[in-house]
């Protein structure tokens, strides 16, 4: 009887130990998560971009890649070239097809070291991958020279809406398991809209896990009021702009006249 009891206790203990071990083993249980803060970025009068913090949990051995972007779309651009062999001027337009408006990538290591080419291609990670999917056409629909894609990346990087920063995700191994954090400087040049945040867990050159969230950038307060008025009450907006300019102009003229006459 006593022996049987001991056996049962031992069995239960074994189960308990196994369970604890299972919970503590991060590789087996810890799923990839991601959160962005803030989830709403208001554009107010003093807006000059924002600081986004992306946090989450991940398996200890996985490398991580973070991508903030918009779905691929078409963008029309004007391009400059030499006219008459001497003068630089706008020569025509180019259509960039299948390119995101915003593309900010952060990672724990160099993309081409941790990910196979096919994987980078599938998940659109890196400019090389984007170059293969994107198409550049001139105004007649013919494919344009390859240099224009590089020029496009340079333009977008200068505008701060494209960037690839490798080795910028920091990781911690603590009581809460394995967490990661990336701080992204959100550019004020990015237009209002909803932006996708994707985190990829990478192991052995392959993507082994994905997590997704999003945030919204939207006009608030006086910025929202004025920008909708400019479109919805265009005549009133135009009259207001003219009247205020005239009142200020004449007003300052009168003040100066008074000050000057003495």
């Amino acid at each position: 009887m006593k022996q049987t009891l001991m056996r049962v206790v031992k069995q239960w203990a074994a189960v308990a130990v196994a369970a604890v071990t299972l919970i503590a083993a991060p590789e087996a249980v810890q799923a990839l998560t991601c959160e962005v803060s803030p989830t709403r970025v208001p554009i107010t009068l003093s807006y000059h971009g924002a600081k986004l913090t992306i946090t989450g949990q991940s398996a200890v051995n996985d490398e991580l890649v973070l991508k903030i972007s918009t779905p691929p779309a078409d963008t029309e651009m004007k391009y400059k070239g030499k006219a008459g062999g001497l003068f630089w001027m706008k020569k025509g337009s180019l259509e960039f097809k299948g390119v995101p408006m915003v593309y900010l990538v952060n990672s724990t290591a160099k993309l081409d070291l941790i990910l196979a080419e096919a994987e980078r291609q599938q998940y659109q990670l890196g400019y090389d991958a984007m170059a293969k999917t994107a198409r550049v056409e001139d105004s007649t629909g013919q494919p344009a020279e390859g240099k224009w894609f590089d020029e496009f990346i340079r333009f977008k990087e200068q505008e701060m809406v494209y960037s690839i920063q490798e080795g910028t995700i920091t990781r911690k191994h603590g009581e809460k398991g394995n967490t990661f954090e990336a701080v992204v400087n959100w550019p004020y040049q990015a237009q209002p809209g909803v932006y996708d945040v994707e985190v990829f867990a990478v192991n052995g050159g392959k993507v082994v896990g994905k997590a997704h969230t999003s945030f919204e950038v939207e006009r608030a307060g006086i910025i929202a009021t004025l920008s909708s008025m400019a479109v919805e009450q265009a005549a009133l907006y135009g009259i207001m702009a003219v009247v205020i300019a005239m009142v200020v102009g004449f007003g300052v003229g009168v003040i100066f006249k008074k000050g000057g006459s003495h």
Partner: protein, 306 residues
């Protein structure tokens, strides 16, 4: 330090923008020009899309030229009759110029023609004014206290036109058709070049209408005021390209600049004013030529007012 602009959808350093307004307003009060040929490129340099830069600049000029017109009017420097005739001509010419541009765009190669018109007009006007006023200043120095006053050449053709009328403030007599036609001419050019046209209108008033320099400045501002009211309203109404906040920042600077310019202008001789304006016009010409010849660092730009 930073302020977000609701229409341009970008953030700017407001001290910098007020400073820009002050500098361009100063030129406006001194010379009777709107200064759009300087302001629009400067705004584009700080990241404002071109269409919004041009439209908002027109709104800002309304304030600066209202302020300048008012002070010049108090000084008796505005020839209202002349100003109204030039303005009417300018409206007609502007509308015609917009059609010309549309036709050119459809035919292709418009940008080349526009840039060339710009460079040649600025270069000619600047060079002519520079040497003309340099000669005048030299003659003054040579001391002849009674330097031969400009013999009022009665151009046979101008004098033969009907509707002769005396412009009291300017002290000249012309056919009313002359300022009307010149206004149309300036309006066409201004529309093609995408500017207000003050810097062409001012030399036209000096050399073709033979008006005294100080009346030219006051009347120029008067004409610029009405042109820019029209442009601001039309741009806001049909294109939604006027950024009200950007305009406010600019005009806070420019109205004070225009007052300082007016006060400064009173202390300068007409020929000194002309030679200064000539130097600025030539400097802008050189800048445009350099932009055309040197390879730009970025070869792409968004199409339209993005």
């Amino acid at each position: 330090m930073y302020m977000y602009l609701p229409i341009a959808l970008t953030s700017v350093n407001y001290l910098l923008v007020v400073g820009l307004g002050l500098a361009v307003g100063l030129l406006s009060g001194l010379f009777g020009v709107g200064g759009g040929f300087l302001m629009t490129p400067l705004l584009m340099m700080i990241g404002i899309p071109p269409t919004i830069a041009a439209a908002t600049d027109a709104n800002q000029i309304v304030a600066a030229s209202a302020s300048g017109t008012f002070s010049h009017w108090r000084l008796g420097n505005v020839d209202v009759k002349m100003g109204i005739l030039l303005t009417i001509g300018g409206f007609v010419g502007g509308a015609a110029g917009v059609q010309v541009i549309k036709m050119l765009r459809a035919a292709g190669g418009a940008d080349f023609l526009i840039k060339m018109t710009y460079v040649i007009m600025l270069g000619l006007v600047g060079t002519f004014m520079f040497f003309e006023s340099l000669n005048a200043l030299r003659k003054q120095k040579q001391g002849a206290s009674k330097a031969a006053p400009k013999s009022e050449k009665k151009g046979g053709f101008f004098a033969a036109l009907p509707m002769q009328t005396h412009f009291e403030k300017s002290g000249v007599t012309h056919s009313a058709l002359v300022p009307l036609v010149l206004g149309v001419f300036v309006g066409v050019l201004a529309a093609i070049m995408g500017v207000g046209g003050g810097f062409i209108m001012v030399p036209v008033m000096i050399y073709m209408l033979r008006m005294p320099m100080h009346v030219v400045v006051g009347t120029g501002l008067f004409q610029v005021l009405f042109t820019c009211i029209e442009v601001t309203f039309l741009q806001a109404y049909s294109n939604h390209t006027v950024d009200f906040f950007l305009a406010i920042l600019l005009l806070l600077g420019s109205v004070f600049g225009a007052q300082i310019g007016t006060v400064l202008g009173k202390k300068l001789h007409g020929d000194q004013l002309k030679i200064l304006l000539a130097i600025i016009v030539l400097a802008v010409t050189v800048k445009i030529v350099l932009e055309l010849v040197l390879e730009p660092s970025i070869l792409l730009s968004y199409a339209g007012g993005h």
